[in-house]
């Protein structure tokens, strides 16, 4: 006779990293060290790109925004992220982007970690940008312009400080309060932070330009005359159909680098171009199959939309911190009857208890 299963077994339990836990992990590890760690996992996973099961994310569009599922697998672990993008949320007191994600074992399909990913996505997006810039930005770049000073801004600034050695960030946002917030948050980081009154002013003298705005429309945050020879553009904000940031003329003269072309052609800046416009895949640059930056006068563009492997890498990194930090709770997410066929009996016996 089966025992009455009142306390869920170890098999039923999935470690859960709440927002509070994630903030504790970030602050225990240290935010710059954590961005560096995630960047290392992201780079390692890009370098074994062919091992991954890759698919464009699965969107559900509405007039207010989009909800997306982003799955991938390396054959051993499976991961996915749930993420929304709702540009009008901020005005209503909600986050534009919230997210959570999961890692599971491929061999038996059992989840091994559920985690908040709003904070983690901010870290991985910044880490990805910095990893790409290692291969694409001018050598010894010291100054980065940042257009759009919302939730992603400070994470980008720290990632480029930590991984590229950026010393000065030049900030501009159409909302001066956003810039003030970023200036305040970056006070103690050691970065030289300059508030600017226009995009044009922000990009002056910058070797790297990061665009990170959130309107769900085809905007023109950068026009062709604003981009000089040799600059690297890190374009983060254009990430769904009908949402772009750069003038087409910039795209036509830049060398364009992307994560996963099948997804970027739908969602990225290059949705403005012909479907066969040449682009280079980031993993090919990282593995030496393709060239990154080849001259001082070249304009490079990382047309970043965010790809599932980056979330997978970030989740792997967090999972590897769980034991040392202890910042998680076990969640009774999985049914684990004493006899796997006896799900009904498990439910029935719970009544008796």
């Amino acid at each position: 006779m089966s025992k009455i299963n009142l306390n869920p077994s170890a098999l039923a339990m999935v470690p859960f990293v709440s927002v509070a836990d994630m903030m504790k992990i970030v602050n225990t590890v240290g935010i710059k060290k954590m961005i560096r760690g995630i960047a290392e996992y992201i780079e390692a996973d890009f370098k074994r790109w062919p091992e991954f099961d890759k698919t464009p994310r699965v969107p559900s569009h509405s007039k207010e925004g989009v909800i997306e599922l982003m799955p991938t697998s390396d054959g051993e672990l499976y991961g996915f992220k749930y993420v929304n993008g709702h540009p009008a949320n901020m005005a209503r007191g909600f986050q534009t982007v919230t997210a959570f994600g999961l890692l599971a074992r491929v061999d038996n399909g059992y989840p091994v970690m559920l985690s908040e990913m709003t904070v983690l996505t901010a870290l991985r997006t910044a880490a990805t940008s910095a990893v790409a810039a290692k291969y694409l930005a001018p050598k010894n770049a010291k100054t980065m312009a940042m257009i759009g000073n919302g939730a992603q801004c400070e994470f980008q600034a720290l990632a480029f400080q930590e991984l590229l050695g950026i010393e000065t960030v030049r900030l501009y946002d159409i909302d001066p309060d956003a810039t003030s917030k970023a200036v305040r948050n970056l006070e103690a980081t050691g970065l030289n932070v300059v508030s600017c009154n226009s995009s044009q002013e922000a990009v002056t003298g910058a070797e790297i330009i990061t665009t990170c705005t959130a309107d769900k429309q085809c905007a023109t945050i950068l026009t062709d005359n604003m981009v000089g020879a040799g600059q690297h553009i890190n374009a983060i904000g254009g990430d769904c159909p009908g949402k772009t940031e750069l003038h087409k003329d910039i795209l036509l003269r830049a060398d364009i680098f992307v994560e996963f072309p099948e997804q970027t052609r739908i969602e990225g800046e290059i949705q403005q171009l012909d479907a066969d416009h040449p682009v280079t895949e980031l993993w090919e640059v990282m593995t030496g199959r393709a060239k990154g930056r080849t001259s001082d006068t070249q304009t490079t563009l990382f047309d970043s939309v965010g790809f599932a492997t980056e979330d997978f890498s970030a989740l792997r990194y967090v999972r590897d911190q769980l034991e040392a930090t202890g910042h998680f709770k076990n969640l009774d997410l999985l049914a684990d009857p004493d006899d796997p066929r006896d799900l009904f009996g498990m439910v029935n016996r719970a009544k008796e208890a």
Copy 2:
């Protein structure tokens, strides 16, 4: 100056239904009443089929099994389920199928409920079968054969008792222990339960045949000679490419009803047939656009693979029980900074606390 956000706000919290909570909900509501309730939600959602954003589920196949994401939306709510199918799990002490799911608001992308779905999937699969059988099975059917007596068996038996008035179930499984388990579990249900020594014996005199086996292969659980005129076949087990239960000859003479043809042609019994073999969509029968059973001699087949709207309906049902039953916990899943743009500040201030 923003306050230090130590306690997550109400916005950050998502109600979570654990396995223990789900069992409490089932036992508070009553299992038959809950199956009936879920069936009503499923039928209501099938009847407004055109309102849903529908896509075949997104699978990640491995040699051991499959992990799938099943999203859908009715424009107001978005839902998805994570579910695995690993036929070899049972022998290793794991569940063949485990699942969890989520409902979210479409207008802002915020999750409104996270729930275990291993137990809930068992309930919704049984409810869906019974709803389909209301339209397709012979009138006044009293006896159902059940081939495959695993985790889904008893739920099917109760659903058909509650919604169709089935009085007798005739059980067969290649593993007699599975049958014994089902007999034991169904003792107090009021059903007349008959253990059989073969599939042939089980189907004798049954107006409805339910096949629910789990091998990941093309099996032949039913051959043509075993199916008599006028029977309704409720085929549950064939639900991924290369996994079927019925001999092709049965399919060729049956009238076939499916949930979402685009998905069933990939995963269902009809993967054995030509891509243009005629099938009828269940929602069309329920809304009167197409005919269900039209004669006493017709062989009807519900080629069920499970569709995202059924999970959506089941999640909606559970959400509507939360307030009355109180069986959930709040989970700190969403980051909710005081200023939505100030994610970095939130993380930073957590350090000071």
